[in-house]
């Protein structure tokens, strides 16, 4: 049920994950700098990052954009997906580039995804496309106030 890759992380992997969730240098040779801070060689850091991406321990490595600062919008949305159609609806929803992430959750509203678009009008357009592609009504939960966002979590394995 869980998508937990069978990957063993060693102490260096954990330190890479815990220290490089932000603050990566913008410089001539940033991997060499980050590696020095971790006490390893640049080639080792590059190889480990590639390994962590290949095994999907990391979903990506790079800049994280705050789309709202560019005039874009983020909206949480949900669907009630009939079990028999769950895989097909997942494929249809995930095919839209506006879907930034998507989770299965235990509730009648059993598919929860985040739409990210470059302009606020992109949101209703994306919702209309998803409704057309799935035949299901999209329930949108735009944020009205943001009390806290900080997605850094230390490794526990």
């Amino acid at each position: 049920m869980r998508e937990r890759p069978a990957v063993d992380l060693d102490a260096i992997d954990r330190r890479i994950i815990d220290t490089l969730q932000g603050g990566f240098p913008v410089s001539e040779a940033p991997y060499a700098e980050a590696a020095a801070a971790l006490g390893i060689r640049e080639e080792e850091l590059l190889a480990r990052l590639q390994g962590l991406l290949d095994t999907k321990v990391l979903t990506r490595f790079g800049p994280m954009v705050q789309i709202e600062r560019l005039g874009g919008a983020f909206v949480l949305a949900a669907l009630v997906v009939p079990e028999a159609r769950y895989e097909a609806v997942t494929a249809a929803v995930n095919a839209f580039p506006e879907v930034a992430h998507n989770y299965r959750r235990e509730h009648a509203l059993n598919m929860w995804f985040v739409l990210a678009t470059e302009t606020p009008d992109g949101i209703p357009a994306a919702i209309a496309k998803i409704e057309a592609a799935t035949g299901l009504p999209v329930h949108a939960f735009p944020k009205e106030a943001e009390y806290f966002v900080e997605m850094k979590l230390e490794s526990r394995v």
Binding site: Y31, R60, V65, N102, R156
Partner: protein, 161 residues
């Protein structure tokens, strides 16, 4: 916050890096070659976009399941409108909460207006943390639920272009 004028060159840099920063010794030079700008300019623009808050940060995005956070509960609460803002800030300040938002209710099926994402290594841990939120909300909370995620269906992050 500084008003930053995001231009086509910035956009090209974001598009070139949204799949990830190249894993080569001089990644910003690789991006510069790709977008046809000098490396110094690419680095200056990335710095400026971080200062302006357009780029939140540069680094690793882990799969939470893979790093041991195997239980993830979206806790949702029906909180009295006149009390939600101060309480939302207090819930957001709890260590166990990674995101906390006020969102519209969708009555009658969805009475909840406060969303707080809680991570843990087990469902029991998430439920215990949800109890902490419940005590904090006290009688301002009329109903609640915890929606555990059972599968990541997609996690590509933002894509523009």
């Amino acid at each position: 916050m500084t008003e930053y004028v995001f231009d086509p060159a910035d956009r090209a840099i974001i598009i070139a890096t949204q799949g990830g920063l190249p894993l080569v010794p001089r990644p910003y030079h690789a991006v510069a070659d790709q977008v046809g700008l000098p490396a110094e300019e690419v680095m200056a623009r990335l710095q400026a976009m971080m200062t302006a808050g357009i780029i939140r940060r540069i680094g690793a995005v882990p799969n939470h399941y893979a790093i041991g956070w195997t239980a993830n509960g979206m806790t949702v609460w029906d909180v009295a409108d006149e009390r939600i803002d101060p309480l939302g800030r207090q819930v957001g300040a709890l260590d166990c909460v990674t995101h906390c938002y006020r969102r519209p209710r969708a009555l009658p099926a969805w009475p909840y207006n406060l969303f707080a994402m809680v991570h843990g290594s087990s469902r029991e841990e998430v439920l215990a943390k949800a109890e902490t939120i419940r005590s904090l909300l006290g009688d301002a909370c009329r109903a609640s639920d915890v929606l555990f995620s059972t599968r990541i269906l997609k996690k590509s992050g933002l894509r523009i272009g």
